[in-house]
């Protein structure tokens, strides 16, 4: 981009009537960063990045903050903050006030915090003697403040796995307010989490399409006790996070491969995993060694994050198309999600990626023993014709049981999260216990993350984040023109909405650039 183009782009952003002041400032910052050179890369890695075979999700060429930061809020509340000039809170009001202040100071790729803390745990010390009605009233005000002050669909909180009246209050307030923010993950431990609490969460999904459910024992196995799911299905260590999320387009790799499945796994896939690791390494080194984020940010200085709890996220997407391309190259008819042979090919691909990533050391990734976390990336608005992560293409899913069984074997590998969304008939409303059964079954089957939604609630899940249907309604005709059955069209439809009217709540991670 030369200076003239940069000026024109800046002018478009400044004069864009569909962007709020904050959105304009955010995109201007992205534009300025985009004028800088990319960290040094080999020719092959640079070319793969240019061709979008490897995608850095528009994080920018000069990373100056880690992508996902999970501050240890419990520690902050216990010790106070010199930087924020806040003493440790002594009651619930002070704690909520403390948190609201701190949220505004947590960096992220979107400018908004992706993690608000494990609410049931961090508030527990402050609710003794607070009756349920008072707790709910204070939490309600807090929820409204969070939604209005942090209007980004990737702002996320966690609860569970144990029973807690804070968790029950969170669900009740969320059902009442029906806000996009905050997104919620509910940690489920089949041994510990009571059925009626899971049922409470299920009935919350009926109203707000939240929470997501995660398999707590599996997460603890891979990440330790102190983990959280943040943003959109990203599970990471608390007190740490991820420097970057760089993803490999498996569809594109399969399409440029000459030959069959064996040589794909042995050579082509290995080559592009290495190139992706090179991009990740270059980005990490810039963040840590050049921008020196961990030396100046107050979260690090005050011990609320530490570099040794960070790693990077190695993302994959387009598995469905990759499998179909490879099956076709060998003259085999099966499709991913429907055919045992095709599914087997998909497992071989993710297993191979997992082995390669586990064998590739990366600097400043002590949060995962010097290796990247594997992540099944759930897409952004610009993905057209390529399926998110390791999902079965939307509209092409088999029956629920077959669907669960097809995707579950992948979940074991993706420590940093994997998203498969299940669409459930509205009859579930009258039988929430049935969803409790299915969630328990899915975790017994080895699933890590479980997300479902009904056709009839007021929210639609795009790539993993939420949009209110009423925000989309004016654009039905537009959506239909693009075909509403595919995932890509859904995201496209959303991006059209964002280009046509001012929206208070945005989804910055999935719409990283202004529409041009």
């Amino acid at each position: 981009m030369d200076a003239e183009e940069a000026r024109a782009a800046a002018r478009r952003i400044v004069n864009d009537p569909t962007l709020t002041f904050h959105q304009r400032r955010h995109y201007l910052a992205g534009l300025a960063e985009g004028l800088l050179d990319y960290p040094p890369l080999g020719d092959e890695a640079a070319e793969a990045l240019n061709k979008q075979i490897i995608c850095d999700l528009f994080e920018g060429p000069a990373p100056y903050r880690a992508r996902y930061i999970l501050p240890d809020y419990g520690r902050a509340l216990a010790r106070g903050s010199d930087h924020l000039e806040l003493d440790p809170p002594g009651d619930l009001d002070e704690a909520l006030n403390f948190l609201l202040i701190m949220y505004t100071q947590v960096p992220s790729i979107t400018g908004y915090p992706v993690y608000l803390g494990d609410f049931d745990k961090i508030l527990e010390p402050f609710v003794t003697g607070v009756d349920d009605e008072t707790l709910r009233r204070k939490l309600r005000l807090f929820w409204i403040a969070v939604d209005r002050m942090l209007p980004d669909a990737f702002v996320h909180t966690d609860v569970g796995p144990g029973d807690s009246r804070i968790t029950r209050a969170v669900f009740a307030v969320d059902r009442e307010l029906k806000q996009v923010v905050p997104n919620i993950t509910f940690k489920v431990d089949p041994e510990l989490t009571p059925d009626d609490l899971i049922e409470d969460a299920v009935t919350t999904v009926f109203e707000t399409a939240k929470p997501h459910f995660v398999n707590h024992p599996l997460m603890v196995r891979d990440l330790g006790e102190d983990y959280a799911a943040v943003s959109c299905y990203n599970s990471l260590p608390v007190g740490g996070g991820s420097h970057t999320l760089t993803r490999l387009n498996l569809k594109a790799v399969a399409e440029l491969h000459q030959g069959g499945i064996e040589t794909f796994l042995a050579d082509t896939l290995a080559h592009y995993v290495e190139l992706t690791a090179q991009v990740i390494e270059a980005r990490i080194r810039y963040l840590v060694e050049e921008a020196r984020f961990f030396e100046h940010d107050f979260l690090a200085r005050e011990g609320l994050i530490s570099l040794d709890r960070f790693s990077a996220m190695f993302g994959v997407f387009g598995l469905a198309e990759a499998v179909d391309v490879l099956m076709e190259a060998e003259g085999r008819p099966g499709r991913y999600g429907h055919d045992a042979e095709a599914n087997e090919v998909s497992y071989r691909i993710t297993r191979r990626v997992s082995d390669l990533v586990a064998a590739r050391p990366l600097p400043y990734c002590e949060g995962n023993d010097g290796r990247a976390f594997l992540h099944s990336q759930s897409g952004i608005d610009t993905d057209i014709g390529v399926t998110a992560g390791t999902r079965v293409p939307i509209g092409d899913e088999p029956g629920m049981l077959e669907h669960i069984r097809a995707v579950a074997p992948h979940h074991d590998l993706f420590q940093a999260g994997v998203s498969d969304i299940f669409h459930v008939e509205d009859t579930a409303r009258r039988n929430p216990r049935a969803m409790v059964d299915i969630i328990r079954g899915a975790f017994a089957e080895g699933m890590r993350d479980f997300t479902f939604n009904l056709a009839t609630n007021g929210f639609i899940r795009i790539t993993g984040y939420l949009v209110r249907k009423c925000d989309l309604e004016n654009f039905d005709a537009e959506g239909a023109r693009h075909g509403s059955t595919t995932f890509a069209a859904g995201a496209e439809r959303n991006s059209h909405v964002t280009t046509r009217n001012v929206k208070r709540v945005v989804s910055r991670e999935s719409s990283p650039r202004p529409a041009s």
Binding site: G399, L401, R430, N431, R433, D437, G441, A444, E445
Partner: protein, 318 residues
């Protein structure tokens, strides 16, 4: 329409006789094995009892309800062969391998397009098959982590009571499956002896009550309702009545007065019983009954209030 027609079609002239009737007991591999004539098995159902359930739809029913949503499960295939030629997938063939005519299905080819059902002179299906308890146990075992229990629906579950007893007994005595609840979805026509055989291994029954008035019941089902009323009383008395289902068919059994009388009768049996009020939908019903109007939600709301006003505490509306 009378009960005799149903009996002739369903008991005496059907293919079930070829296999020894709807229930088949015999020695296989040296053990006593029970099998049932099964229309289909659904791994997940959110609407056939509490929680997520595996549902076994058996073939064959002694009622002929005007509002039946799966009328192809009423009669049992008599292997007349009339569906073999029309099958667009060429999945059906007529064999005499066992000495008598039998329509055989190639399930690798069948696309379940239902043409065979459309052309069947008795509105049955050649797709029902005999399934052994052991095979069903395996199927149940494979989905056990996902379900609260199993439900035998139909068709009429109690017409194959020996099979259901054996199936439920097997579930209750198999480690890993013994936590599953066992239920039947029934028209309530079984006699007390049948319920007493089922009771030790059955957690509950969901009983359809089409009409309290015997004349109306006969018009709507082709059968007398005295056994149904007796079943409801008996099941409630032995603690095995999970719910009574009232399917509201507009113009037939959905007047406020009719519903009020039904409610009073149910109240006398058990004021706390779970009563599910269901609005009639045309989906699946036979063409000659498809003129019946669908139930209006507003009217169902009125009937719900009627049920509650009488004093029933466990009313749910679908």
């Amino acid at each position: 329409m009378t009960g005799e027609r149903g009996l002739i079609n369903r008991g005496l002239t059907n293919g079930g006789l070829v296999n020894g009737g709807p229930v088949n007991r015999g020695l296989v591999n040296g053990g006593l094995v029970n099998s049932g004539l099964v229309n289909r098995v659904l791994d997940f159902s959110l609407v056939d009892g509490p929680g997520n359930r595996l549902v076994i739809f058996v073939q064959g029913c002694n009622f002929d309800c005007i509002a039946c949503h799966n009328p192809y499960t009423i009669d049992v295939c008599d292997s007349c062969g009339g569906c073999v030629e029309p099958c667009p997938d060429e999945a059906l063939s007529l064999t005499f391998d066992r000495g008598t005519p039998e329509v055989v299905v190639d399930r690798n080819v069948c696309t379940e397009c239902d043409v065979c059902i459309e052309v069947c002179p008795i509105n049955s299906t050649p797709l029902a098959r005999r399934m052994e308890v052991s095979a069903l146990l395996q199927r149940i075992g494979s989905v056990a982590p996902f379900i609260s229990g199993i439900t035998v629906s139909g068709g009429e579950a109690t017409r194959q009571a020996d099979f259901v007893v054996d199936l439920f007994s097997a579930v209750k005595s198999t480690p890993g499956l013994d936590r599953l609840t066992t239920m039947v979805d029934t028209n309530g026509s079984a006699d007390r002896a049948t319920w007493d055989r089922l009771a030790p291994v059955m957690d509950g029954a969901m009983v359809d009550l089409k009409a309290l008035d015997p004349e109306l019941h006969l018009r709507m089902t082709g059968q007398d309702n005295a056994p149904v009323l007796e079943s409801i009383r008996h099941l409630a008395a032995i603690g095995k009545l999970y719910e009574v289902r009232l399917l509201m068919v507009p113009g037939h059994n959905d007047s406020a007065e009719t519903v009020k009388r039904t409610a009073e009768w149910l109240l006398a049996v058990d004021p706390d019983m779970r009563v599910k009020l269901i609005g009639f939908r045309r989906h699946g019903v036979r063409p000659h009954h498809a003129h019946i109007a669908e139930a209006e939600p507003e009217h169902l709301a009125i009937l719900e209030r009627t049920l509650r006003a009488v004093g029933l505490s466990g009313v749910v509306v679908v």
